[in-house]
Amino acid sequence: MTTATLSTQKPGGGLKRLVERHPFLPALLIALVLLALNGLYQPRSVSFIGITGLTKTYLALMMLAIAQTYVVYAGDIDLSVGAIVSLVNVVIVVLMEKMGGSGFSVVVALGVGLLTGLACGIVNGIVVAALRLQAIVATFATSIFFTGLALYVMPVAGTPAPAAFWRTYGGRFFEVPFVFYAVVVLAIVLYVLARTRLATQLLAVGDDAQAAFQSGLPVTKIRIQGYALCGLFAALAAFCITGDTASGDPLVGGKMTLFSVAAVVLGGSALSGGFGTVVGSIIGALIIGLINSLVFFVGTPSEWQNLVQGLAILVALMAGVLVGRRARA
């Protein structure tokens, strides 16, 4: 501790400033270490095909982590993101099937899917921000409601998505996998979003809602917009998962909810709000993905996989806290 305190007085405070400006750096370090370990146990996992597969599988979780980040910005939380993923998944699959699975039907279904996600987000926002219910319980309740809707739309899992859809998601254009185009577009969208007035306002609300209100910000409206944005990204996550699994499943997103929260925290954002980055959450989702594949590659017996995964996530959380504290001290 003493040495760490002394180092702040020295002019070499560059690391501190760097971590302060880019709070996701500790997470990036952990992700790189995990990637190296993956390569060590399974050299093919760091090949072009290996990375493509990883991106294809975990793009959905990245999208969901992004969704969660915008509500966490404002100090809120959304425990219904997984249920929104399930609902959008079954809505688009059923719609594409009903319309014959043509290219046109895919576009229409995706449009309806986005609107569904947006509507779910607005419902959450109204329940939490306008009706002032506790976010954690209110979104838990809406998650049950959304799951109920999903089960109504598709009572049993298994309806396949049309080939036009999943072939595109898993395919290549000019020798480059589709998911990489998706990642580039995503990066541009996030860059643009970070420059919106809304992003700053969400963070200001998360910092101190009372102060934001006294500064004349429309706090309720801002929080609803945060949830709406979250709903939109949850819909995108649903598109990714539909592309990856190529079928409809009314319970597909449920277990992703808390992973999205974990990814946000792993990425260095504060659950209390006001502080965080979207990039960090993406890296957080990547860390979870890399841990899962590493547990598989080192040959953990299947009955031990959950236990090892859980421990590994705990270690990653601790490492993130320690690295961050060291650098900032």
Binding site: V192, R197, L203, A204, D207, D208, Q214, G274
Partner: protein, 499 residues
């Protein structure tokens, strides 16, 4: 025509009347000072104007036209800007973002360039005095207290509102910063803007003010031209016709207490928010801590009890040294602490009365298990001594009024008598009859040999109940009032003189 007229504005929080009849008239191109003692209602009056509190009654006219202010946003549209005493900054955002937060330039996207240009204009105003590390890109959380206060000032200035309220804007600033700020205010005044200025420092009020309005007990009692008055006259207006020497027959003469029997002694005690505080409390004595809110009184009490860390100095308890470390330790050494913030420091919400009355008993007797009947036999006499009204010991504490809840919190200390009772504004939000019961009990406890330290933000309580009063100002003891000196006038004078 006056720029702003507020007439008969009132506001009650539950049963507490924060503002009875607030009147204020402000002209264009003047700095109008608002002054009043703790809880007199001046901050409430400002919050009504700024839209963060809705008034119950009264009218507001701007440029002669009646207006209704529905919220902070509406207030801005009516041309009202405010500096909040408790600050309204987003800690993780930069200085520039905070300055422009109420009105971000741009549409969907933030116009970074416009934001930086606008922020730079206000940062430049304080260029020479802002100190090291202050820049447009600095994150507010990393700034010093005075620099954060400057950001809040810049934020208020950036609203460019025709009427700007400054609620204690200078409490953390140094001399040079205050001087610069006053120059800026004079420029604004010359430009025809109206400034409402709240401060507790007489020297500042007389340096910058044009007129002063005095509020006492939620009512406007008068407005004077600064040029035609003086600090003593203003303090007399704040004191009003209230009893000059409030200490009655109940208080024994201070000489009667034997100084040698000091039960609690602090020497050069320092910590966050206070420095070099020395005092003694004798058995049988009630020592009062007075002065404005937040001048270190509460911080001293919490540090002695070990609830907040202490930085230096020595504490002697019953003749032997005592190093405050944590409340558990303090309780074992015979200290008791009752706070006015019951929900934070006292009441165990939703639990039965008996559980709320016995935690200290468990700790001091090292009880692990106890029969309810045996506990009840100890709790009942303590509660009856306090005239506590309750349905049954198993009823939840939330079923009681604030005053009765506080009695139960006090009762928990009386089952095993402490040597010293630290009272940290204990009567906040409780009714008059409960207050009377409480002070009768405190006097009785003192007579039975307890040493008592009483901090109260209500000056009348102190003057009526304390044998001696230490007036705190800026984290240290400014003056000791004993015997016939215990007057409201002396108390205010010590509290309001330049720190």
């Amino acid at each position: 025509m006056s720029k702003l007229i507020m007439r008969g504005v009132s506001k009650a929080y539950g049963a507490t009347l924060a503002l009875r009849r607030g009147d204020l008239t402000v002209e264009a191109g003047e700095v109008h000072v608002l002054i009043g003692s703790n809880g007199s209602g001046k901050s409430t009056l400002c919050k009504v104007l700024a839209g963060s509190v809705r008034p119950d009654g009264g009218e507001i006219l701007i440029d002669g036209k009646p207006v209704t202010i529905t919220g902070p946003h509406a207030a801005r549209e009516h041309g009202i800007g405010i500096f909040y005493q408790e600050l309204s900054l987003a800690g993780h955002r930069t200085v520039a973002e905070n300055i422009c937060l109420p009105d971000m330039p741009g549409g969907i996207f933030v116009d970074r360039k416009a934001l930086e240009t606008r922020a730079a204009r206000y940062i430049a105003l304080f260029d020479t005095v802002a100190g090291e590390g202050f820049s447009a890109e600095a994150v507010v959380e990393n700034l010093r207290a005075d620099q954060r206060q400057l950001v809040e000032i810049m934020k208020a200035l950036a609203t460019e509102a025709p009427i700007t309220i400054f609620d204690e804007p200078t409490s953390a600033l140094d001399r040079a910063q205050v001087d610069r700020f006053f120059e800026i205010l004079r420029d604004l005044k010359a430009g025809g803007r109206s400034i409402i200025f709240i401060s507790h420092r007489m020297d500042e009020i007389f340096a910058i003010g044009d007129r002063v309005t005095v509020i006492r007990d939620g009512e406007t009692v008068g407005t004077e031209n600064i040029a035609d008055t003086n600090p003593a006259a203003v303090i007399r207006l704040m004191v009003g016709g209230q009893e000059e020497l409030a200490a009655g027959a109940s208080a024994p003469p201070a000489a009667a207490t034997d100084r040698k029997a000091a039960v609690l002694k602090a020497e050069n005690f320092s910590g966050k928010g206070f420095a070099n505080v020395s005092f003694e409390v004798a058995r049988g004595e009630i020592l009062g801590f007075g002065g404005l809110h937040g001048q270190g009184q509460s911080a001293v009490l919490r540090a002695i009890f070990g609830a907040n860390p202490a930085a230096g100095g020595t504490i002697t308890l019953g003749g032997s040294a005592f190093a405050p470390s944590n409340p558990r330790n303090a309780i074992r050494r015979g200290l008791a602490y009752v706070s006015g913030d019951r929900s934070r420091d006292g009441v165990i919400q939703g639990r039965p009365i008996i559980e709320n009355a016995t935690p200290i008993h468990y700790l001091r007797q090292k009880l692990k298990l106890a029969r309810p009947a045996a506990l009840a036999a100890r709790v009942k006499p303590a509660l009856e001594a306090l005239h506590t009204k309750f349905g049954g010991l198993s009823h939840p504490i939330n079923s009681l009024s604030g005053g009765n809840q506080q009695k139960i919190v006090i009762a928990r200390w009386l089952i095993d008598r402490p040597d010293v009772l630290l009272l940290d504004d204990p009567t906040k939000g409780i009714d008059l009859s409960a207050k009377a019961d409480l002070f009768a009990l405190i006097r009785k406890l003192a007579e039975e040999g307890m040493g008592i330290v009483l901090y109260s933000s209500e000056d009348a309580e102190l003057l009526n109940n304390a044998d001696r009063i230490l007036v705190f100002n800026g984290g240290s003891v400014r003056r000791e009032l004993t015997g016939a000196d215990r007057t409201r006038y002396n108390l205010y004078q010590a509290a309001y003189e330049a720190a």
